[in-house]
Amino acid sequence: MNLARSFTALNKLLGFVQISRTCVAQSHSQPALTAETYNVKRGNYSTANASDLDAFRNIVGDNNVVTEASELQGNNVDWIKTVRGQSTVLLKPKTTTEVSRILKHCNERKLAVCPQGGNTGLVGGSVPVFDEIILSTQRMNEVISVDPFSGVMVCQAGCILEKANQDLLEHDLIVPLDLGAKGSCHLGGNISTNAGGLRLLRYGSLRGSVLGVEAVLADGTVLDCLSKLRKDNTGYDIKQLMIGSEGTLGFVTAVSILCPQKPKSVNVVFLGVDKFEDLLLLLRKAKQDLGEILSAVEFVDSDCIGLVGKHLKLVNPIGEYEFYMLIETSGSNSQHDEEKLSSFVEDIITSQLAKDGTIATDFNKMQSIWKLRESVAEALTHDGYTFKYDVSLPAHVMYDMVHDTRKHLKGLYNSVVGYGHLGDGNLHLNVTCPEYNKTIASAIEPFVYEWTAKHNGSISAEHGLGFKKRNYISYTKSKESINFMMKIKQMFDPNMILNPYKTLPGNID
């Protein structure tokens, strides 16, 4: 299969192929090394030696220092298999103290460290670029406390999102965020990347729902900002720096989150329309008629439905349309919610604002409909090498970006799809091609970033900058603010050992 794909791709690109730097990255084998694919130089860090490994074994125990290459394969590669690091050491601490001792040692020895949670990030931020020591939160998975009255949960950074939700069930609470990666992602990683997800529309950003963070700084200092208070205006809010800094300012070891009530009544509606403008009209009507119970508004285009059908055999419950919209409501009274939903649905069908649709009548059907949206990323991995873009744009131009990208990349792609958090103005633009190559890469970037900047959007709405987007930060942030970010980084991590080559632009390193 691999060979056949290479030939087909080669034929397609005849005339465009630059023989010297063609890299083949098929979807089911190892991607090329990041260091060989990208223009990046290893920083002036030490290399871990035998006495470092002994020191680590002393701190976390022999079983929790992994140096076997085969065991490290998964930790060196990102989930979408586009980058690959060369780390030879993985550490698995259990407590904040262990993390503190490890980082103190690494700082003194100038050893670079790559913090790693569930490794579900989509911008290459969670895997090493060179031989950074991988510091994993996988054993730090204890829920420390849950207060059923205030709704505050305190837990270690390695708690898996889905598991935390299950633990909260007995208190009728839920974690205030939800994303496709929930079965694998760690809360520490979610907080470090200020993850957005499917329910930001309802519960807001983590910057609001995270009440406290405990993080270990580069020199081993434990920064305890683990408050459980809803309101605390005493001084500068340093935890906000930890949120979204992608592990470059501190290693998050514990979080305190305000968890909302588990809704008593959930409903899911799936609609089909033929024009993007109709999606926006439906969104506005949904806000008017369902406002206080709206918990998610997502869209996918017809290509997405085609891909999940083709690669994952997921069935489309309604007819074929250009665009599909998923609306979820969450409320405290099923009768009230069903009345609201019923009259909303009657209006949109009578006025033909929606051409077709279905309401999920049981949990099984709700999950099936959600799967159509949540599995798009997985389906894309079966469609070829995926270039993923996650942008914030004004609503009315959102899909124009998809049209323009298709025109711009004519003949080079397998699929160009658009989907995402319609309610938050966040488009996920994805381009798949038979294999990674510099031709298509240079056609796509900086085109998508320029397009976004032209409309004053964000080049990374929720995925963060990681490794892959660090050098494009200036498309959205001013030179002055980037300079101050560098100053803050230097203050928190003078030896630059925390997650180097990530988040901030490379030419300043």
Binding site: V266, P317, I318, V345, I359
Partner: protein, 254 residues
Amino acid sequence: TMARVLVGVKRVIDYAVKIRVKPDKSGVVTEGVKHSMNPFDEIAVEEAIRLKEKKFATEVIAVTCGPTQSQETLRTALAMGADRGIHVEIPADDYVKTGPLQISKIFAKLAEQEKANLIILGKQAIDGDNNQTAQMTAAVLDWAQGTFASELKLEGEKLTVVREVDGGLETIDLKMPAVVSADLRLNEPRYATLPNIMKAKKKKVAKLTAKDLGVDLASSIEILEVADPPQRLAGIKVENTEELVGKLKEAGLV
């Protein structure tokens, strides 16, 4: 001759919900808990509608028994394509004591009244798990029965049913009229699309009581207690076979 199909649907706690026993052990918590149509009944409705679409049936009548909220389930059946509904209203207090015996008598009477010649039911409800209603209904009517159906074919007066049994698949021919109970692999139920949900609001739903049908709801079964299954105790690890045998002897098991 084409079939007139009666389909039974039951409103049950959604199968994805975590069931909680009431503190007084009289039953399970149903207040504020998500309910939906019994999954096997959905399959039964789907099969009935497919028969109509293939022109083997003239009419599909959905029937439910229970308190007021049971009507929701009828609406779902109508939205899937059933022609009309019948709600046999049973007040909540009586409903707790109602089981397959009473329901089967109701279905039998309705079948006679509506001149139905085919009854399709789900093989069992996920709350009672009795798996008796279809069989009892056939017995009361003295009709043929094909239970655990994974395939159904209607040709004039002959009904061919492939049944899922312990030993594999059994194919039987039934002479109409007949009662069929639907098993999991009979079909994949359709989603109710919005235009059909709208149309369903205009479909007729008749309301009856058990008394109207001359059926006595008296039950000879009384629920004494509902309790959680015993908590599964954690196991222990042993180092070797000697220790294993030692522990087994300690527990008096060998």
